[in-house]
Protein backbone atom coordinates (compact mmCIF):
# COMPACT_ATOMS: atom_id res chain seq x y z
CA UNK A 1 0.00 0.00 0.00
CA UNK A 2 1.22 3.44 -0.83
CA UNK A 3 2.63 5.56 1.98
CA UNK A 4 0.12 8.35 1.41
CA UNK A 5 -2.75 5.93 1.89
CA UNK A 6 -1.31 4.46 5.05
CA UNK A 7 -0.81 7.91 6.52
CA UNK A 8 -4.36 8.97 5.73
CA UNK A 9 -5.73 5.82 7.34
CA UNK A 10 -3.66 6.45 10.48
CA UNK A 11 -4.95 10.00 10.63
CA UNK A 12 -8.49 8.67 10.29
CA UNK A 13 -7.95 6.26 13.16
CA UNK A 14 -6.55 9.01 15.34
CA UNK A 15 -9.55 11.19 14.58
CA UNK A 16 -11.91 8.39 15.55
CA UNK A 17 -10.03 7.85 18.79
CA UNK A 18 -10.25 11.55 19.59
CA UNK A 19 -14.00 11.65 19.05
CA UNK A 20 -15.06 10.02 22.31
CA UNK A 21 -12.88 12.49 24.15
CA UNK A 22 -14.50 15.39 22.34
CA UNK A 23 -17.95 14.01 23.01
CA UNK A 24 -17.32 12.92 26.55
CA UNK A 25 -19.59 15.41 28.21
CA UNK A 26 -22.62 14.38 26.20
CA UNK A 27 -23.86 10.95 27.13
CA UNK A 28 -26.28 10.91 24.21
CA UNK A 29 -23.61 11.58 21.60
CA UNK A 30 -21.42 8.92 23.13
CA UNK A 31 -24.34 6.51 22.92
CA UNK A 32 -24.76 7.25 19.22
CA UNK A 33 -21.02 6.79 18.75
CA UNK A 34 -21.21 3.41 20.41
CA UNK A 35 -24.20 2.41 18.30
CA UNK A 36 -22.23 3.32 15.20
CA UNK A 37 -19.42 1.11 16.39
CA UNK A 38 -21.71 -1.84 16.95
CA UNK A 39 -23.39 -1.36 13.59
CA UNK A 40 -20.05 -1.11 11.82
CA UNK A 41 -19.04 -4.49 13.19
CA UNK A 42 -22.37 -5.99 12.15
CA UNK A 43 -22.24 -4.44 8.69
CA UNK A 44 -18.69 -5.49 7.93
CA UNK A 45 -19.28 -9.03 9.03
CA UNK A 46 -22.48 -9.26 7.01
CA UNK A 47 -20.73 -7.89 3.97
CA UNK A 48 -18.10 -10.60 4.30
CA UNK A 49 -20.86 -13.17 3.90
CA UNK A 50 -21.94 -11.49 0.70
CA UNK A 51 -18.46 -11.68 -0.83
CA UNK A 52 -18.98 -15.36 -1.56
CA UNK A 53 -22.37 -14.66 -3.08
CA UNK A 54 -24.39 -15.62 -0.04
CA UNK A 55 -26.77 -13.47 1.95
CA UNK A 56 -28.19 -13.41 5.46
CA UNK A 57 -31.48 -11.92 6.60
CA UNK A 58 -30.94 -13.12 10.12
CA UNK A 59 -27.65 -11.57 11.16
CA UNK A 60 -29.16 -9.92 14.23
CA UNK A 61 -30.19 -13.36 15.41
CA UNK A 62 -26.57 -14.39 15.76
CA UNK A 63 -25.86 -11.17 17.56
CA UNK A 64 -28.52 -12.14 20.07
CA UNK A 65 -26.90 -15.52 20.65
CA UNK A 66 -23.68 -13.75 21.60
CA UNK A 67 -25.58 -11.28 23.77
CA UNK A 68 -27.56 -13.83 25.76
CA UNK A 69 -24.66 -16.27 26.10
CA UNK A 70 -22.29 -13.63 27.39
CA UNK A 71 -24.83 -12.21 29.83
CA UNK A 72 -25.82 -15.61 31.18
CA UNK A 73 -22.25 -16.87 31.51
CA UNK A 74 -21.44 -13.91 33.71
CA UNK A 75 -24.66 -13.89 35.69
CA UNK A 76 -25.18 -17.60 36.17
CA UNK A 77 -21.63 -18.97 36.10
CA UNK A 78 -19.68 -16.02 37.37
CA UNK A 79 -17.25 -15.90 34.48
CA UNK A 80 -15.26 -12.77 33.78
CA UNK A 81 -16.99 -10.53 31.29
CA UNK A 82 -14.11 -10.77 28.85
CA UNK A 83 -14.10 -14.53 28.84
CA UNK A 84 -17.86 -14.42 28.47
CA UNK A 85 -17.58 -12.07 25.50
CA UNK A 86 -15.33 -14.47 23.64
CA UNK A 87 -17.42 -17.48 24.58
CA UNK A 88 -20.56 -15.65 23.54
CA UNK A 89 -19.02 -15.02 20.15
CA UNK A 90 -18.01 -18.65 19.99
CA UNK A 91 -21.56 -19.70 20.79
CA UNK A 92 -22.88 -17.55 17.96
CA UNK A 93 -20.35 -19.20 15.67
CA UNK A 94 -21.44 -22.64 16.87
CA UNK A 95 -25.07 -21.90 16.08
CA UNK A 96 -23.98 -20.65 12.68
CA UNK A 97 -21.99 -23.82 12.14
CA UNK A 98 -25.18 -25.81 12.57
CA UNK A 99 -26.56 -24.46 9.30
CA UNK A 100 -23.41 -23.22 7.58
CA UNK A 101 -22.80 -26.33 5.51
CA UNK A 102 -26.34 -27.19 4.47
CA UNK A 103 -27.00 -23.67 3.28
CA UNK A 104 -24.05 -23.60 0.90
CA UNK A 105 -26.15 -25.37 -1.70
CA UNK A 106 -29.19 -23.12 -1.33
CA UNK A 107 -29.86 -20.48 -3.97
CA UNK A 108 -29.95 -16.81 -3.08
CA UNK A 109 -33.71 -16.07 -2.84
CA UNK A 110 -34.26 -19.21 -0.81
CA UNK A 111 -31.22 -18.42 1.30
CA UNK A 112 -32.72 -15.04 2.08
CA UNK A 113 -35.90 -16.66 3.32
CA UNK A 114 -34.04 -19.39 5.13
CA UNK A 115 -31.86 -16.99 7.08
CA UNK A 116 -34.89 -14.82 7.79
CA UNK A 117 -36.69 -17.75 9.35
CA UNK A 118 -33.61 -18.88 11.19
CA UNK A 119 -33.15 -15.47 12.76
CA UNK A 120 -36.79 -15.50 13.79
CA UNK A 121 -36.39 -19.03 15.10
CA UNK A 122 -33.59 -17.88 17.37
CA UNK A 123 -35.75 -15.04 18.64
CA UNK A 124 -38.68 -17.37 19.29
CA UNK A 125 -36.48 -19.85 21.12
CA UNK A 126 -35.18 -17.11 23.37
CA UNK A 127 -38.75 -15.92 23.92
CA UNK A 128 -39.98 -19.38 24.81
CA UNK A 129 -37.06 -20.42 27.03
CA UNK A 130 -38.36 -18.35 29.87
CA UNK A 131 -36.41 -20.12 32.55
CA UNK A 132 -33.13 -19.22 31.01
CA UNK A 133 -33.74 -15.97 29.25
CA UNK A 134 -36.64 -14.38 31.06
CA UNK A 135 -38.87 -14.69 28.01
CA UNK A 136 -40.22 -11.49 26.52
CA UNK A 137 -39.21 -9.52 29.59
CA UNK A 138 -35.63 -10.48 28.98
CA UNK A 139 -32.73 -10.09 31.33
CA UNK A 140 -31.95 -7.05 33.40
CA UNK A 141 -29.03 -6.08 35.53
CA UNK A 142 -26.32 -7.47 33.31
CA UNK A 143 -22.96 -6.55 34.83
CA UNK A 144 -20.84 -4.01 32.98
CA UNK A 145 -17.53 -5.00 31.48
CA UNK A 146 -14.94 -5.83 34.05
CA UNK A 147 -12.49 -3.26 35.30
CA UNK A 148 -9.15 -3.35 33.53
CA UNK A 149 -6.17 -2.35 35.61
CA UNK A 150 -2.94 -1.65 33.80
CA UNK A 151 -0.46 -1.56 36.64
CA UNK A 152 1.21 1.77 37.04
CA UNK A 153 -0.78 3.36 34.21
CA UNK A 154 -4.50 3.46 34.69
CA UNK A 155 -7.57 1.68 35.93
CA UNK A 156 -10.32 1.51 33.35
CA UNK A 157 -13.64 1.34 35.05
CA UNK A 158 -16.70 0.67 32.88
CA UNK A 159 -19.13 2.72 34.87
CA UNK A 160 -19.60 5.48 32.31
CA UNK A 161 -20.03 5.51 28.58
CA UNK A 162 -16.56 6.80 27.77
CA UNK A 163 -14.65 3.55 28.35
CA UNK A 164 -17.30 1.70 26.35
CA UNK A 165 -16.71 4.09 23.48
CA UNK A 166 -13.05 3.28 23.38
CA UNK A 167 -13.67 -0.40 23.79
CA UNK A 168 -16.12 -0.57 20.88
CA UNK A 169 -13.69 1.49 18.85
CA UNK A 170 -11.00 -1.10 19.51
CA UNK A 171 -13.38 -3.95 18.65
CA UNK A 172 -14.45 -2.19 15.47
CA UNK A 173 -10.85 -1.59 14.51
CA UNK A 174 -9.99 -5.24 15.05
CA UNK A 175 -12.99 -6.25 12.95
CA UNK A 176 -12.05 -3.86 10.18
CA UNK A 177 -8.42 -4.95 10.10
CA UNK A 178 -9.35 -8.61 10.15
CA UNK A 179 -11.86 -8.47 7.34
CA UNK A 180 -9.90 -6.00 5.30
CA UNK A 181 -6.91 -8.29 5.55
CA UNK A 182 -9.01 -11.09 4.16
CA UNK A 183 -10.44 -8.84 1.47
CA UNK A 184 -7.06 -7.96 0.01
CA UNK A 185 -5.55 -11.38 0.35
CA UNK A 186 -5.62 -14.40 -1.89
CA UNK A 187 -8.47 -15.72 0.19
CA UNK A 188 -10.49 -12.60 -0.52
CA UNK A 189 -9.85 -13.09 -4.22
CA UNK A 190 -11.01 -16.67 -3.90
CA UNK A 191 -14.23 -15.54 -2.22
CA UNK A 192 -14.93 -13.19 -5.09
CA UNK A 193 -14.20 -15.93 -7.60
CA UNK A 194 -16.82 -18.06 -5.87
CA UNK A 195 -19.34 -15.24 -6.06
CA UNK A 196 -18.71 -14.88 -9.78
CA UNK A 197 -18.76 -18.49 -10.89
CA UNK A 198 -18.95 -21.40 -8.50
CA UNK A 199 -18.55 -24.08 -11.14
CA UNK A 200 -15.46 -22.48 -12.57
CA UNK A 201 -14.00 -22.04 -9.09
CA UNK A 202 -14.68 -25.68 -8.30
CA UNK A 203 -13.09 -26.83 -11.55
CA UNK A 204 -9.75 -25.40 -10.51
CA UNK A 205 -9.79 -26.95 -7.09
CA UNK A 206 -11.67 -24.51 -4.86
CA UNK A 207 -13.70 -26.29 -2.18
CA UNK A 208 -16.62 -23.92 -2.59
CA UNK A 209 -18.74 -25.30 0.25
CA UNK A 210 -15.85 -25.04 2.69
CA UNK A 211 -15.17 -21.44 1.86
CA UNK A 212 -18.78 -20.38 2.02
CA UNK A 213 -19.36 -22.16 5.31
CA UNK A 214 -16.18 -20.83 6.82
CA UNK A 215 -16.86 -17.20 6.02
CA UNK A 216 -20.41 -17.60 7.30
CA UNK A 217 -19.21 -18.94 10.63
CA UNK A 218 -16.45 -16.38 11.06
CA UNK A 219 -18.85 -13.60 10.25
CA UNK A 220 -21.32 -14.81 12.85
CA UNK A 221 -18.51 -14.94 15.41
CA UNK A 222 -18.12 -11.20 15.06
CA UNK A 223 -21.86 -10.68 15.20
CA UNK A 224 -21.83 -12.58 18.47
CA UNK A 225 -18.98 -10.44 19.72
CA UNK A 226 -20.95 -7.29 18.99
CA UNK A 227 -23.90 -8.86 20.75
CA UNK A 228 -21.93 -9.66 23.87
CA UNK A 229 -20.61 -6.12 24.00
CA UNK A 230 -24.14 -4.79 23.63
CA UNK A 231 -25.37 -6.95 26.49
CA UNK A 232 -22.85 -5.58 28.97
CA UNK A 233 -23.16 -2.05 27.67
CA UNK A 234 -26.92 -1.93 27.71
CA UNK A 235 -27.31 -3.95 30.92
CA UNK A 236 -30.70 -5.06 29.64
CA UNK A 237 -31.60 -7.64 27.00
CA UNK A 238 -34.90 -8.50 25.35
CA UNK A 239 -35.51 -10.89 22.45
CA UNK A 240 -37.45 -8.30 20.48
CA UNK A 241 -34.36 -6.09 20.19
CA UNK A 242 -32.91 -8.61 17.78
CA UNK A 243 -35.87 -9.35 15.56
CA UNK A 244 -36.32 -9.13 11.85
CA UNK A 245 -35.99 -5.37 11.57
CA UNK A 246 -32.47 -5.09 12.99
CA UNK A 247 -31.36 -7.80 10.55
CA UNK A 248 -32.95 -5.89 7.69
CA UNK A 249 -31.36 -2.64 8.81
CA UNK A 250 -27.89 -4.16 8.79
CA UNK A 251 -28.53 -5.42 5.29
CA UNK A 252 -29.59 -1.92 4.35
CA UNK A 253 -26.34 -0.53 5.79
CA UNK A 254 -24.34 -2.92 3.62
CA UNK A 255 -26.23 -2.45 0.38
CA UNK A 256 -26.97 1.26 0.64
CA UNK A 257 -23.40 1.87 1.74
CA UNK A 258 -22.23 0.00 -1.30
CA UNK A 259 -21.50 -3.68 -1.45
CA UNK A 260 -18.74 -3.60 -4.01
CA UNK A 261 -16.18 -1.77 -1.96
CA UNK A 262 -15.06 -2.65 1.54
CA UNK A 263 -15.57 0.86 2.86
CA UNK A 264 -19.20 0.76 1.77
CA UNK A 265 -20.28 -1.25 4.78
CA UNK A 266 -18.54 1.15 7.14
CA UNK A 267 -19.94 4.23 5.49
CA UNK A 268 -23.41 2.74 5.31
CA UNK A 269 -23.40 1.78 8.96
CA UNK A 270 -22.17 5.16 10.15
CA UNK A 271 -24.30 7.37 7.91
CA UNK A 272 -27.48 5.35 8.37
CA UNK A 273 -27.02 5.20 12.13
CA UNK A 274 -26.29 8.91 12.39
CA UNK A 275 -28.93 10.38 10.11
CA UNK A 276 -31.95 9.01 11.99
CA UNK A 277 -30.40 10.16 15.26
CA UNK A 278 -29.63 13.59 13.87
CA UNK A 279 -33.22 13.87 12.75
CA UNK A 280 -34.61 12.62 16.02
CA UNK A 281 -36.90 15.65 15.81
CA UNK A 282 -40.29 14.11 15.96
CA UNK A 283 -39.88 10.53 16.98
CA UNK A 284 -42.86 9.30 14.97
CA UNK A 285 -41.73 10.81 11.72
CA UNK A 286 -38.13 9.71 12.09
CA UNK A 287 -38.46 6.58 9.93
CA UNK A 288 -39.55 8.83 7.07
CA UNK A 289 -36.13 10.43 7.11
CA UNK A 290 -34.42 7.05 7.01
CA UNK A 291 -36.64 5.88 4.19
CA UNK A 292 -36.14 9.10 2.26
CA UNK A 293 -32.39 8.74 2.51
CA UNK A 294 -32.64 5.12 1.51
CA UNK A 295 -34.68 5.80 -1.61
CA UNK A 296 -32.57 8.81 -2.48
CA UNK A 297 -29.43 6.71 -2.48
CA UNK A 298 -30.73 3.76 -4.43
CA UNK A 299 -32.49 5.84 -7.04
CA UNK A 300 -29.52 8.14 -7.59
CA UNK A 301 -26.51 6.04 -6.65
CA UNK A 302 -27.02 2.51 -7.88
CA UNK A 303 -23.76 1.33 -6.44
CA UNK A 304 -24.38 2.74 -3.00
CA UNK A 305 -23.06 5.66 -1.00
CA UNK A 306 -19.48 4.62 -1.51
CA UNK A 307 -19.79 5.44 -5.21
CA UNK A 308 -20.64 9.05 -4.45
CA UNK A 309 -17.11 10.42 -5.11
CA UNK A 310 -17.02 8.60 -8.48
CA UNK A 311 -20.44 9.84 -9.47
CA UNK A 312 -19.61 13.39 -8.48
CA UNK A 313 -16.47 13.19 -10.58
CA UNK A 314 -18.42 11.87 -13.56
CA UNK A 315 -21.02 14.62 -13.23
CA UNK A 316 -18.31 17.27 -12.91
CA UNK A 317 -16.65 15.97 -16.06
CA UNK A 318 -19.94 16.12 -17.90
CA UNK A 319 -20.42 19.72 -16.83
CA UNK A 320 -16.85 20.48 -17.85
CA UNK A 321 -17.38 18.99 -21.30
CA UNK A 322 -20.61 20.88 -21.77
CA UNK A 323 -18.92 24.09 -20.75
CA UNK A 324 -16.17 23.53 -23.28
CA UNK A 325 -18.68 22.78 -25.99
CA UNK A 326 -20.54 26.00 -25.29
CA UNK A 327 -17.44 28.14 -25.11
Amino acid sequence: MKLGRIVSYIVLVIVFFLMPLLLRHNAYYLHVFILCGINVIMAISLRAITTTGQISFGHAGFMSVGAYTSALLVMKLGLSTYAALILGAAAAMAVAAAIAYPITRVRTIYLAMLTLFFGELIRLVFTEWRGLTGGTSGIIGIPPLGTISIPGLATIDFSTKLPYSFFILVLALITILFFYGIERSYVGMTFKSIAQDESLAASIGTNVANFKALVFCISCFFAGLAGGFYAHYNAVLAPDTFGLFPSLYILVYVIVGGRRKFAGAIIGAIVLTLIPEVFRVVKEYQPFVFVALLFLVIFLLRGGLVTLPEQVKIQMEKIHVRKNENA
Partner: protein
Protein backbone atom coordinates in the same frame (compact mmCIF):
# COMPACT_ATOMS: atom_id res chain seq x y z
CA UNK B 1 -60.82 -34.54 22.39
CA UNK B 2 -63.20 -31.74 21.80
CA UNK B 3 -60.52 -29.18 22.25
CA UNK B 4 -58.55 -31.03 19.60
CA UNK B 5 -61.41 -30.79 17.14
CA UNK B 6 -61.89 -27.16 18.07
CA UNK B 7 -58.24 -26.47 17.52
CA UNK B 8 -58.35 -28.23 14.16
CA UNK B 9 -61.28 -26.05 13.21
CA UNK B 10 -59.43 -22.95 14.40
CA UNK B 11 -56.37 -23.98 12.48
CA UNK B 12 -58.29 -24.51 9.26
CA UNK B 13 -59.94 -21.16 9.59
CA UNK B 14 -56.59 -19.43 10.08
CA UNK B 15 -55.10 -21.51 7.33
CA UNK B 16 -57.33 -20.03 4.66
CA UNK B 17 -56.30 -16.54 5.55
CA UNK B 18 -52.72 -17.67 5.17
CA UNK B 19 -53.68 -19.09 1.77
CA UNK B 20 -55.00 -15.73 0.61
CA UNK B 21 -51.78 -13.99 1.61
CA UNK B 22 -49.70 -16.70 0.00
CA UNK B 23 -51.63 -16.59 -3.26
CA UNK B 24 -51.02 -12.89 -3.63
CA UNK B 25 -47.37 -13.28 -2.81
CA UNK B 26 -46.93 -16.21 -5.12
CA UNK B 27 -48.54 -14.33 -7.96
CA UNK B 28 -46.30 -11.35 -7.53
CA UNK B 29 -43.25 -13.53 -7.21
CA UNK B 30 -43.81 -15.73 -10.22
CA UNK B 31 -44.65 -12.83 -12.51
CA UNK B 32 -42.34 -10.16 -11.25
CA UNK B 33 -39.60 -12.38 -9.95
CA UNK B 34 -39.14 -10.47 -6.76
CA UNK B 35 -40.01 -11.35 -3.22
CA UNK B 36 -42.18 -8.38 -2.48
CA UNK B 37 -41.38 -8.11 1.21
CA UNK B 38 -43.77 -5.25 1.66
CA UNK B 39 -46.69 -7.53 0.79
CA UNK B 40 -47.45 -7.81 4.49
CA UNK B 41 -47.84 -4.04 4.68
CA UNK B 42 -50.48 -4.11 1.94
CA UNK B 43 -52.28 -6.71 4.05
CA UNK B 44 -52.07 -4.37 7.01
CA UNK B 45 -53.30 -1.41 4.98
CA UNK B 46 -56.21 -3.49 3.73
CA UNK B 47 -57.31 -3.90 7.31
CA UNK B 48 -56.82 -0.22 8.08
CA UNK B 49 -58.67 0.66 4.89
CA UNK B 50 -61.74 -1.11 6.19
CA UNK B 51 -61.22 0.51 9.59
CA UNK B 52 -61.03 3.97 8.09
CA UNK B 53 -63.99 3.55 5.76
CA UNK B 54 -66.19 1.69 8.16
CA UNK B 55 -65.39 3.02 11.61
CA UNK B 56 -64.39 6.56 10.65
CA UNK B 57 -66.61 7.19 7.66
CA UNK B 58 -69.51 4.95 8.41
CA UNK B 59 -69.38 3.06 5.15
CA UNK B 60 -71.13 -0.31 5.39
CA UNK B 61 -68.68 -3.06 6.18
CA UNK B 62 -69.04 -5.04 3.01
CA UNK B 63 -68.62 -2.03 0.75
CA UNK B 64 -65.60 -0.98 2.80
CA UNK B 65 -64.09 -4.40 2.19
CA UNK B 66 -64.44 -4.07 -1.57
CA UNK B 67 -63.33 -0.44 -1.75
CA UNK B 68 -60.30 -1.14 0.39
CA UNK B 69 -59.27 -4.00 -1.88
CA UNK B 70 -59.66 -1.85 -4.98
CA UNK B 71 -57.74 1.08 -3.51
CA UNK B 72 -54.88 -1.17 -2.53
CA UNK B 73 -54.87 -2.77 -5.94
CA UNK B 74 -54.33 0.71 -7.36
CA UNK B 75 -51.62 1.40 -4.80
CA UNK B 76 -50.00 -1.80 -5.96
CA UNK B 77 -49.99 -0.62 -9.56
CA UNK B 78 -48.31 2.61 -8.54
CA UNK B 79 -45.73 0.75 -6.48
CA UNK B 80 -44.96 -1.62 -9.33
CA UNK B 81 -44.51 1.19 -11.79
CA UNK B 82 -42.38 3.52 -9.72
CA UNK B 83 -40.63 1.37 -7.19
CA UNK B 84 -40.19 -2.09 -8.60
CA UNK B 85 -39.97 -1.68 -12.34
CA UNK B 86 -36.89 0.58 -12.26
CA UNK B 87 -35.00 -2.12 -10.41
CA UNK B 88 -35.98 -5.14 -12.42
CA UNK B 89 -33.08 -7.53 -12.49
CA UNK B 90 -31.22 -5.64 -9.78
CA UNK B 91 -31.54 -8.09 -6.93
CA UNK B 92 -29.82 -6.05 -4.24
CA UNK B 93 -31.65 -2.83 -4.82
CA UNK B 94 -34.98 -4.63 -5.14
CA UNK B 95 -34.46 -5.92 -1.64
CA UNK B 96 -33.73 -2.42 -0.42
CA UNK B 97 -36.83 -1.08 -2.14
CA UNK B 98 -38.95 -3.70 -0.41
CA UNK B 99 -37.42 -2.96 2.95
CA UNK B 100 -37.87 0.76 2.37
CA UNK B 101 -41.53 0.25 1.50
CA UNK B 102 -42.10 -1.81 4.63
CA UNK B 103 -40.78 1.04 6.73
CA UNK B 104 -42.63 3.68 4.77
CA UNK B 105 -45.99 1.98 4.83
CA UNK B 106 -45.74 0.96 8.45
CA UNK B 107 -44.79 4.46 9.50
CA UNK B 108 -47.60 5.95 7.44
CA UNK B 109 -50.06 3.69 9.21
CA UNK B 110 -48.54 4.52 12.61
CA UNK B 111 -48.71 8.22 12.00
CA UNK B 112 -52.22 8.22 10.54
CA UNK B 113 -53.89 5.75 12.83
CA UNK B 114 -51.67 5.57 15.88
CA UNK B 115 -49.73 2.59 17.05
CA UNK B 116 -52.41 1.17 19.30
CA UNK B 117 -54.55 -1.70 18.26
CA UNK B 118 -57.89 -0.99 16.64
CA UNK B 119 -60.93 -3.04 15.92
CA UNK B 120 -63.03 -3.39 12.84
CA UNK B 121 -66.51 -4.77 13.10
CA UNK B 122 -67.19 -8.27 12.01
CA UNK B 123 -68.88 -8.83 8.70
CA UNK B 124 -70.88 -11.68 10.13
CA UNK B 125 -71.20 -11.54 13.86
CA UNK B 126 -72.34 -14.53 15.79
CA UNK B 127 -71.23 -18.06 16.37
CA UNK B 128 -72.46 -21.31 14.98
CA UNK B 129 -72.15 -24.19 17.36
CA UNK B 130 -71.96 -27.83 16.47
CA UNK B 131 -72.08 -29.61 19.77
CA UNK B 132 -69.49 -27.82 21.83
CA UNK B 133 -67.43 -26.81 18.82
CA UNK B 134 -67.65 -23.11 18.35
CA UNK B 135 -67.44 -21.88 14.80
CA UNK B 136 -67.67 -18.14 14.67
CA UNK B 137 -69.38 -17.01 11.49
CA UNK B 138 -66.63 -14.53 10.85
CA UNK B 139 -64.03 -17.22 10.71
CA UNK B 140 -66.21 -19.38 8.56
CA UNK B 141 -66.49 -16.42 6.25
CA UNK B 142 -62.72 -16.36 6.03
CA UNK B 143 -62.72 -19.99 4.98
CA UNK B 144 -65.51 -19.44 2.51
CA UNK B 145 -63.84 -16.35 1.09
CA UNK B 146 -60.55 -18.16 0.87
CA UNK B 147 -62.02 -21.07 -1.02
CA UNK B 148 -64.08 -18.90 -3.34
CA UNK B 149 -61.26 -16.56 -4.18
CA UNK B 150 -58.90 -19.45 -4.80
CA UNK B 151 -61.35 -21.04 -7.19
CA UNK B 152 -61.96 -17.73 -8.96
CA UNK B 153 -58.24 -17.18 -9.29
CA UNK B 154 -57.76 -20.67 -10.62
CA UNK B 155 -60.45 -20.14 -13.24
CA UNK B 156 -59.07 -16.74 -14.12
CA UNK B 157 -55.63 -18.13 -14.76
CA UNK B 158 -56.76 -21.15 -16.67
CA UNK B 159 -59.56 -19.70 -18.72
CA UNK B 160 -58.89 -16.08 -19.51
CA UNK B 161 -56.46 -14.68 -22.01
CA UNK B 162 -54.90 -12.46 -19.39
CA UNK B 163 -54.52 -15.37 -17.06
CA UNK B 164 -52.78 -17.41 -19.68
CA UNK B 165 -50.57 -14.47 -20.50
CA UNK B 166 -49.60 -14.37 -16.84
CA UNK B 167 -48.61 -18.00 -16.94
CA UNK B 168 -46.53 -17.33 -20.02
CA UNK B 169 -44.71 -14.44 -18.39
CA UNK B 170 -44.04 -16.46 -15.26
CA UNK B 171 -42.44 -19.21 -17.30
CA UNK B 172 -40.43 -17.22 -19.76
CA UNK B 173 -40.53 -13.48 -19.62
CA UNK B 174 -38.61 -12.83 -22.80
CA UNK B 175 -40.40 -15.52 -24.72
CA UNK B 176 -43.73 -14.05 -23.71
CA UNK B 177 -42.62 -10.61 -24.82
CA UNK B 178 -41.64 -12.01 -28.19
CA UNK B 179 -45.13 -13.39 -28.54
CA UNK B 180 -46.54 -9.92 -28.23
CA UNK B 181 -47.56 -10.03 -24.61
CA UNK B 182 -47.20 -6.67 -22.96
CA UNK B 183 -45.09 -7.78 -20.04
CA UNK B 184 -45.37 -4.46 -18.24
CA UNK B 185 -49.16 -4.63 -18.30
CA UNK B 186 -49.09 -8.16 -17.00
CA UNK B 187 -46.77 -7.14 -14.18
CA UNK B 188 -49.12 -4.32 -13.26
CA UNK B 189 -52.16 -6.60 -13.31
CA UNK B 190 -50.46 -9.25 -11.20
CA UNK B 191 -49.41 -6.68 -8.69
CA UNK B 192 -52.95 -5.32 -8.59
CA UNK B 193 -54.48 -8.74 -8.03
CA UNK B 194 -51.78 -9.69 -5.54
CA UNK B 195 -52.36 -6.55 -3.50
CA UNK B 196 -56.12 -6.96 -3.63
CA UNK B 197 -55.72 -10.48 -2.25
CA UNK B 198 -53.47 -9.23 0.50
CA UNK B 199 -55.87 -6.42 1.36
CA UNK B 200 -58.77 -8.84 1.57
CA UNK B 201 -56.80 -11.21 3.75
CA UNK B 202 -55.87 -8.33 6.03
CA UNK B 203 -59.48 -7.18 6.29
CA UNK B 204 -60.70 -10.68 7.09
CA UNK B 205 -57.97 -11.11 9.67
CA UNK B 206 -58.65 -7.70 11.09
CA UNK B 207 -62.25 -8.58 11.71
CA UNK B 208 -61.16 -11.53 13.81
CA UNK B 209 -58.22 -10.09 15.67
CA UNK B 210 -57.02 -6.65 16.55
CA UNK B 211 -55.26 -4.60 13.91
CA UNK B 212 -52.05 -2.68 14.44
CA UNK B 213 -49.36 -1.25 12.15
CA UNK B 214 -47.01 -4.15 12.80
CA UNK B 215 -49.42 -6.91 11.79
CA UNK B 216 -47.87 -7.15 8.35
CA UNK B 217 -44.76 -8.94 9.50
CA UNK B 218 -46.77 -11.88 10.79
CA UNK B 219 -48.65 -12.17 7.51
CA UNK B 220 -45.46 -12.01 5.52
CA UNK B 221 -43.82 -14.77 7.46
CA UNK B 222 -46.85 -16.99 7.19
CA UNK B 223 -47.19 -16.20 3.51
CA UNK B 224 -43.59 -17.10 2.74
CA UNK B 225 -43.81 -20.21 4.88
CA UNK B 226 -46.89 -21.36 2.98
CA UNK B 227 -45.27 -20.75 -0.35
CA UNK B 228 -42.13 -22.61 0.58
CA UNK B 229 -44.12 -25.52 1.88
CA UNK B 230 -46.53 -25.69 -0.99
CA UNK B 231 -44.23 -24.59 -3.74
CA UNK B 232 -43.84 -21.38 -5.63
CA UNK B 233 -46.22 -20.82 -8.46
CA UNK B 234 -48.61 -23.55 -7.49
CA UNK B 235 -52.15 -22.63 -6.45
CA UNK B 236 -52.87 -26.10 -5.16
CA UNK B 237 -49.60 -25.95 -3.27
CA UNK B 238 -50.56 -22.67 -1.65
CA UNK B 239 -53.83 -24.18 -0.45
CA UNK B 240 -52.10 -27.31 0.83
CA UNK B 241 -49.37 -25.29 2.49
CA UNK B 242 -51.82 -22.89 4.08
CA UNK B 243 -53.89 -25.69 5.51
CA UNK B 244 -50.85 -27.46 6.92
CA UNK B 245 -49.41 -24.38 8.56
CA UNK B 246 -52.86 -23.40 9.78
CA UNK B 247 -53.28 -26.82 11.36
CA UNK B 248 -49.90 -26.62 13.06
CA UNK B 249 -50.77 -23.19 14.42
CA UNK B 250 -54.14 -24.46 15.57
CA UNK B 251 -53.18 -27.76 17.15
CA UNK B 252 -49.72 -27.29 18.68
CA UNK B 253 -50.72 -24.49 21.07
CA UNK B 254 -53.14 -26.90 22.73
CA UNK B 255 -50.27 -29.12 23.77
CA UNK B 256 -47.46 -26.64 24.05
CA UNK B 257 -47.70 -22.96 23.22
CA UNK B 258 -48.18 -20.61 20.31
CA UNK B 259 -44.48 -19.82 20.29
CA UNK B 260 -43.62 -23.47 19.98
CA UNK B 261 -46.13 -23.80 17.14
CA UNK B 262 -44.29 -21.04 15.33
CA UNK B 263 -40.93 -22.61 16.11
CA UNK B 264 -42.06 -25.91 14.63
CA UNK B 265 -43.39 -24.14 11.57
CA UNK B 266 -40.16 -22.27 11.04
CA UNK B 267 -37.97 -25.28 11.65
CA UNK B 268 -40.03 -27.20 9.11
CA UNK B 269 -39.59 -24.47 6.54
CA UNK B 270 -35.86 -24.24 7.16
CA UNK B 271 -35.47 -27.97 6.64
CA UNK B 272 -37.53 -27.84 3.46
CA UNK B 273 -35.53 -24.93 2.13
CA UNK B 274 -32.37 -26.94 2.62
CA UNK B 275 -33.60 -30.19 1.19
CA UNK B 276 -36.08 -29.21 -1.45
CA UNK B 277 -36.16 -25.48 -1.93
CA UNK B 278 -38.84 -25.62 -4.58
CA UNK B 279 -41.37 -26.80 -2.03
CA UNK B 280 -43.55 -29.86 -2.01
CA UNK B 281 -45.39 -29.14 -5.21
CA UNK B 282 -43.44 -26.31 -6.64
CA UNK B 283 -41.95 -25.61 -9.95
CA UNK B 284 -40.52 -22.39 -11.21
Amino acid sequence: MESLVQSIANGLMMGFIYVLVALGLSLVFSIMRIVQFAHGEIYMLGAYGVYFLCVKLGVPVFAAFVISAIVLALVGIVLERFFFRPFRGDVENSIIVSIGLILLLQTVASVFFGAQGKYIPEFLPGIMSIGSIRLPWERMLAVFAGITITILLFIFIRKTKTGQAMVAVSQDRDGAALQGINVNHISAISMAIGCALAAMAGALMGAIFQIDPAMGGFAMEKGIAVIILGGLGSIVGAVAGGIIIGLIDGIVPVFASTTIAYIIGFALIIIILIIRPKGLLGYE
